[in-house]
């Protein structure tokens, strides 16, 4: 992704009114519901601090917890695999599917699965893949990627969904009625759940002292994806560890309130090994793939705190940039503020240096982050790295160089603003500038406020003269 690629995507997104409608409908509800849930939980601030401390403790002892988890998962009968990067992880999963002679695989939504390119890997291996989360089902039909980590189809209006289902579902649902669309997806996916050979899930937590993996869903698709098939595969990032089920509960309270505004999700499931002798149902094999993919490097650099992230999505719901351009414009697996920090780790800074810059630094994201990740500080750290590694494009370096030169020379600076302001005012109408040469990047999709009649500095100077001596 070059500089122009991000700019182009953001530009296209800003020009798409349908996208803005779709994003506003869901993020607006999410913001209101989260505020209500947090308001009804007076212990929230104390719980956040504790949540951050739990995650920091895990990261500071990550090697210990990884080994403990592996030992306990194996004791429960699970096979534990380790993957250094996404290629290795996808390869392990497809190999397990092939060994199981799998024709049909159901997948319960997992962003880690997206991160390691699992949908593609399974398609390339010729294995039929069925996404069972409703939103993932929508984007599978649309041949798209998720645009949000909690609501992957956030960019789609209900009218869009009706059109997609109308083409694919027989008989088709009623247009414009979400309940009818959900019922239709339930019917279609029910057959798939029951005939799948392998079910793949992610994990919200890996419990070190029991070896269990934990998923949270509202739909119940994780349970239906992982109980009927012969094989259950879990893919999870190594930062998902927690010491015990008790620690998971403390984080769960933060995760769900921050994500959907609920207290807990409808289904919170701890998966531990395969079916026990005599059990009424469950898979015969369970595999857990522990994925590094850049995380061990973060343990040792200035992005360590990002490993606290519990993937709640609150930072993007409250981000002014995300709410304007949506998730796809970010170009990586993870969008919004957390994505702007993570994508350079996962895809390299050269590919994604625009992301840390596409931030207003208003700090809403870190105010709402349930594990107190200093997102602003981390974004600034990427800006510094980007500058130091000379990744900035010529015009920006030159522009900032000129500004720096002038800013250190107050007379020159004032001369410049005195010259510029009257020129800008010429383009203004009714307080706003709708179009101005060399400012199309701004004015194509929004207006620029017309500058005040006099600059701040000249008003300040006058004010000083009028004031008491």
């Amino acid at each position: 992704m070059g500089a122009s690629a991000f700019t182009q995507r953001a530009h296209d997104a800003l020009a798409d009114p349908n996208l803005k409608t779709a994003i506003d409908r869901t993020t607006g509800t999410a913001e209101t519901k989260r505020a209500a849930a947090v308001g009804a939980f007076p212990e929230f601030q104390a719980a956040r601090a504790r949540g951050a401390a739990i995650k920091d403790h895990v990261i500071a002892n990550l090697d210990h917890y990884l080994v403990e988890f592996e030992r306990n998962a194996q004791a429960a009968g699970a096979h534990v695999h380790w993957a250094r990067d996404k290629a290795e992880a996808a390869e392990i999963v497809t190999r397990i599917c092939k060994d199981a002679d799998a024709k049909l695989v159901t997948r319960a939504k997992s962003m880690l699965g997206e991160e390691i390119g699992l949908p593609h890997a399974l398609d390339d291996a010729g294995i039929e893949r069925v996404e069972t989360d409703l939103a993932e089902h929508i984007i599978q039909l649309a041949h798209e990627r998720p645009s949000h980590i909690i609501w992957p189809a956030m960019h789609r209006t209900r009218e869009d969904v009706a059109t997609l289902f109308f083409k694919d579902h027989h008989p088709p649902p009623d247009a414009d009625d979400p309940a009818s669309m959900v019922a239709s997806a339930r019917r279609i996916l029910r057959e798939k759940f029951m005939s799948a050979d392998v079910g793949i899930s992610g994990a919200n937590f890996l419990i070190a002292d029991t070896g269990a993996t934990c998923t949270v869903t509202n739909e119940g698709n994780a349970e239906l994806s992982t109980t009927p098939p012969r094989v259950h595969i879990v893919t999870a990032g190594i930062e998902k560890l927690v010491p015990s089920t008790d620690h998971a509960m403390a984080l769960l309270r933060l995760l769900v309130r921050s994500a959907t505004g609920g207290e807990v999700t409808q289904y919170t499931t701890f998966h531990s090994g395969p079916k026990r002798p005599g059990d009424a149902d469950g898979p015969e094999e369970m595999h857990i793939v522990l994925v590094d993919n850049g995380r061990s490097r973060m343990v040792g650099d200035e992005f360590r705190q990002m490993l606290r992230c519990i993937r709640c999505g609150a930072c993007m719901n409250h981000c002014v940039v995300y709410r304007q351009i949506g998730g796809h414009a970010y170009g990586g697996t993870y969008p919004g503020p957390m994505g702007a920090v993570l994508t350079p780790v996962l895809d390299g800074l050269a590919q994604s240096r625009d992301l840390p810059h596409a931030c207003t630094m208003n700090g809403r994201c870190e105010e709402v982050c349930p594990v107190q990740i200093p997102l602003k500080t981390l974004l600034k750290a990427w800006r510094v790295r980007s500058w130091d590694s000379q990744q900035e494009v010529g015009p920006l370096r030159m522009g900032l160089g000129l500004w720096g030169f002038a800013a250190r020379r107050p007379r020159l600076y004032h001369f410049g603003t005195r010259l510029a302001l009257p020129v800008m005012r010429l383009f203004g109408k009714g307080g706003w500038i709708r179009r101005m040469p060399f400012a199309g990047g701004w004015t194509d999709t929004r207006d620029l406020p017309k500058p005040a009649a006099r600059s701040f500095m000249s008003q300040h100077a006058n004010h000083g003269n009028e004031g008491p001596k």
């Binding site: 409908r25 869901t26 509800t29 007076p42 104390a46 504790r50 403790h57 500071a60 990550l62 990884l66 080994v67 695999h81 380790w82 069972t132 409703l134 939103a135 929508i138 209006t157 209900r158 979400p178 959900v182 339930r186 996916l189 029910r190 057959e191 029991t210 070896g211 269990a212 509202n218 739909e219 119940g220 349970e223 239906l224 109980t227 009927p228 190594i238 015990s244 008790d246 998971a248 403390a250 309270r253 207290e263 807990v264 499931t269 998966h271 531990s272 395969p274 005599g278 059990d279 009424a280 149902d281 469950g282 522990l290 590094d292 061990s296 973060m298 343990v299 040792g300 200035e302 360590r304």
Partner: protein, 217 residues
């Protein structure tokens, strides 16, 4: 080196030589002590119960319309069949249920019971292992007489929970997770989704109706 060795070595290197300075390495006992310390004073980091008594709090939580559950208080196991039939009649359902296999359900007289739960089952009944007052959740542990699909496939899921099995907080349940069943599922209300424009729609993949039968004695 194997991927496992590489990852563990990279984590250790990050912790001991990272640019944030070396993290103090501790022995397993010290790690355990610190982990336990992080769970001190739980009342400071969890909400209060909806009522002083856990059973009342559980009932109050289930009354929250957002959960999409109904609850019926049943005096004892003998009174269960009547309560079940009342629910089925209320929803115009035949007197036919998929049962989990729990022997306490053998006495469901007047109901045609069968196993296992069919993919298009209208109604099924299970006995929960616990209830959680903090959230209004019920918990099931997979077992020979506790099929997970019995709770996931039907349109209507009836679940019996005994008052004496109501635990106050999620943390109180956590202790029981140590028994490590294949699946431990905390179920809170009916299945739902907000995936289309944030609208809440009931009955996404799991049951659209959950009916709790709270047995007193």
């Amino acid at each position: 080196m194997s991927a496992r060795d590489d990852i563990l070595a990279a984590v250790q290197k990050g912790l001991t030589q990272g640019q944030g300075g070396a993290v103090q390495r501790r022995n397993p006992d010290a790690i355990r002590a610190e982990a336990a310390q992080l769970l001190a004073n739980l009342d400071e980091i969890r909400p209060d119960l909806a009522a002083g008594d856990p059973v009342d709090a559980f009932v109050a939580k289930c009354a929250n319309p957002a959960l999409g559950v109904t609850l019926d208080r049943v005096a004892n196991w003998q009174a269960l069949p009547r309560a079940v039939i009342a629910y089925l009649d209320q929803h115009d359902l035949p007197h036919r249920l998929s049962v989990s296999g729990d022997p306490r359900l053998d006495a469901l007289t007047g109901i045609e019971a069968h196993q296992p739960c069919a993919p298009d089952e209208a109604a099924a009944i299970s006995v929960a292992d616990w209830g959680v007052a903090e959230t209004g959740s019920v918990v099931i542990h997979s077992a020979p007489d506790q099929p997970i699909l019995n709770a996931m496939l039907p349109r209507h899921w009836l679940v019996v929970v005994e008052e004496k099995k109501i635990l106050p907080f999620l943390d109180d349940y956590a202790t029981y997770a140590a028994s490590r069943p294949r699946n431990a599922v905390l179920i809170t209300g009916s299945s739902g989704t907000t995936d289309i424009e944030g609208f809440f729609v009931r009955g996404a993949h799991g049951p659209g109706f959950v009916h709790v039968l709270l047995v007193a004695g």
